[in-house]
Amino acid sequence: MTLTTDQFVPTSGSDDDASQLLTDQEQQWVDKFMDETTLFLGPDPAIMRTHQIMPRTAYEEECIAQGIDPLEVDRIRKRLAGALDEAFEMCESMGAAPGAKWADLSCAVYTAEGDVTYLSNRGVIAFSAVLHHPIRYIMKNWKDEPTVGINPGDGFFHNDSRFGMVHNTDQSMLVPVMRDGIIIAWVGATIHEGENGACEPGGMPSGSESPFDDGLRASPIKIVEKGHLRRDLLTFLQHSTRDPKLMLADIKVKMGATRRIMDTVDRLIDEVGQETFVASLRVTVEDVETEVRRRISELPDGTVTFNQFVDSTLKENILIKFACKITVKGERMIIDLTGTGPEILNRALNSPLASTKSFMSQAVLSYWWPDLPRSTGALSPIEIITEEHTWADAGYDAPVGQSLQASFRGFSALQSAFAKMQFSAPQKYSNVVAPWFNQINDFLWGGTTQNGEQVGNLCADLNGMGGGAKAFRDGEDAVAPLFCAMADLGEQEVMEEEVPFLQLVSKRLVRDNQGFGKFRGGMGYEMMVASRGTPSWGFMTVTSGSKFSSVPGMFGGYGCPVYPLAMVKDINIYDIIKKDPSQFNLSMERVMNEQPFEGGDYQTGHMGLQFDVAKEGELYMIAQGAGGGYGDVLERDPELVVTDLELDRISAQVATNVYGVVWEADTFVVHEQATIELRAQMRRDRISRGKPYKEFVAEFVQEEPPKDLLYYGSWGQDNDEELLATHWGKIEPERVKGKIAELPLIMVPDRRVLKIGKLEARVRELEQKYGEVAVHKS
């Protein structure tokens, strides 16, 4: 961690202050000594734990004092928006990363102190919204550092989320805008690059058990010096990952994109003057903050609570809580995550606080108030309470390879709670929406391609999340990921030119994969892949939600189902369909239920699959997730139910038992009166089986989670500071309780060790039972 003099030495004051330990002169000597002998400039808590915009600098004050013309500010913003969109398209068109081709990137302009002023209209808001942290780090540590410094034409690279990044698979290029030796702004581009040299290919390792398994740990480094790419550092970065071509290509793409933004910035400054340009950046940030305060004041005062339960470490099934209370009082909004489970120090699901907050920005700027300029000012006035060393606010020593598990929950907490916060507000700036799907239901892959290259990355299906149902319509199927409104699902045929596997089934909707409701959530589709023509290949999946639904519904609607990983090992599907083309009739349902391929090993598992070697033709099957439903299922238009039934989107069981619709089997004509009567009966049944709240609570609520459930987080909401956790201090797990600082370090044993232990115990039991004498040498 960063050691600063502030942490060890009292602030200097006058010499005659009796409590003062050091004189001013002595303080200066200490400061100088500490500056010159700092062991390690790691992530700086003073930077990393703050999401507020910076105070105006003296120069910004000076620029603003010369007068602000709102129309001119607007013109400047629009010019910047155009430049950013152009840079975005450059990255999208030329980027080597699969993610770049599908809009998994963004470009932005920042103030000199690092506050985002404006983002590209397309792309991932969270990417750029988190980059004030590294800019502040660079300004604090490298600007005046003689061995680094900042000069025109320089460009800084980083990927480690401990310094401010959504996750470690993303890489940035941050370039200063300078005039007369002074930094007046920054421009930047960030791309989800994928491969980063982690313990598994693809950059999002679910198998990471320490921060050193997370892959490349680049703090902000000056990769471009006065316009020239430094080959020594580039070589280091290439050498540190599995895909050196990707590293080179996309650093150059980001250099080109930031150069394009810089061209517009240079022209703008020539046209409007440096002071007007600086003032425009600054007032935009401030205006957004002011407007957010005003919009908060329009919401009803009160508290909305939205708790989430995540069922996997990606290695084993657990239940870990993401607690969230949002309180509005006048212009203040306080988001309190107290009650969220502790970090797990040998699992990949933890998220740095800045990454969690970046997805809160995503919710605010794309789902709450999408009309606002995309600026740091949007989250700045919102107070956020977290406890360090919880999984949403992980410490420095926690692995964060799959930090999306926690940070996406930061998004869902805000996106979902807002439906209740804005329903009664007079002015609505966006739709009332049920929870968006929030998991990474996707294949990651890696190995040697048919072209002999080493690669590691992911499929575009990540972008096919089902949308939440709205107050007036069904959610859209496979519409967009929560982090990017206008993303692409990619061209599978193009990808197959570059990677040695086929998607044998793609974009086929899975029956009953809906959040049921008056309006249903958008559906997800299934994906089936098998490798072909490669000496070495493997797949991974990095998703929770195979036992506990990832998203609930809204206002009586149901959530999404859960999602399995299905595999058929020890077959070669290509040989099978070559011999019998009729076998190409593939679906997860048919393959797994009918088990048509002789000799195949048919398996299911949760969706945390660590890198699994895929022999040619072995089948891997998953499904994309659905958005939450909105409103009572018995209010759904029966015609919509039958339409879904006819299209095989829902089963007859769901149409009858969930939606209460009666129809003519041959014609799919709704029996209106019979439906009315069935639904009336279903309502009566509800009243009959439902118990008065207090009586229900007395029966249902337990003091603690079930004994065998590996649980982490608060239980209930009356005492969110008391966390429960499962601790393996001994061989058997035990439940521990206490405040976060009182809990022991939480780790989970290797599941294979646990399995071997169980099997050995069983062997001993059987030996004893049958009187067999066996010698077990250790």
Partner: protein
């Protein structure tokens, strides 16, 4: 004045009560937890989310595991409308999901001067419409009057 708070709940600011927007059932003090006025049922999630792959053969089937997950269904005691469905671990206390400052709610709407039960068009497009009037107002379901209710 009545303010719709969710698809199925409104708060009557005159009486300070939670009211069902479908049938006018009174759920209790608007300064408290509306769930206390509901009927609740502990639903096995497998009854709602059926398996797609055979549960006899496999552990993971698209259907939630009832050992991990329950669905608490909250019903209106009069009309049987399902006003909330909460996914919880077994035995976890139901979440108090909304607590509102009624004085502030009243002040904000009075300052606004509009009718909280108007039709909302989220746009773009004509289909982006939600009718916020209470359904039990069968006489004048789309009335914009703000007093005398």
């Amino acid at each position: 004045m009545r303010v719709p708070m969710t698809e199925y709940l409104l708060i009557d600011l005159d009486t300070e009560r939670w009211i069902c927007r479908i049938c006018a059932h009174d759920f209790g003090d608007a300064r408290g937890n509306y769930k206390e006025g509901t009927l609740v049922y502990d639903r096995d999630p497998q009854e709602i989310h059926p398996p797609v792959i055979d549960p006899e053969k496999y552990e993971f089937t698209f259907s939630p595991d009832p050992i991990f997950c329950r669905i608490l269904e909250f019903y209106c005691p009069t009309c049987g409308t399902q006003i909330e469905a909460e996914y919880l671990p077994p035995g976890h206390p139901p979440t108090v999901d909304m607590l509102w400052d009624i004085d502030s709610l009243r002040e904000k709407w009075e300052a606004h001067g509009g009718n909280p039960e108007e039709v909302v068009n989220y746009g773009p497009g004509e289909n982006a419409v939600t009718d916020l009037s209470a359904r039990f107002d069968s006489v004048a379901p789309h009335s914009h009057q703000t007093e005398g209710r």
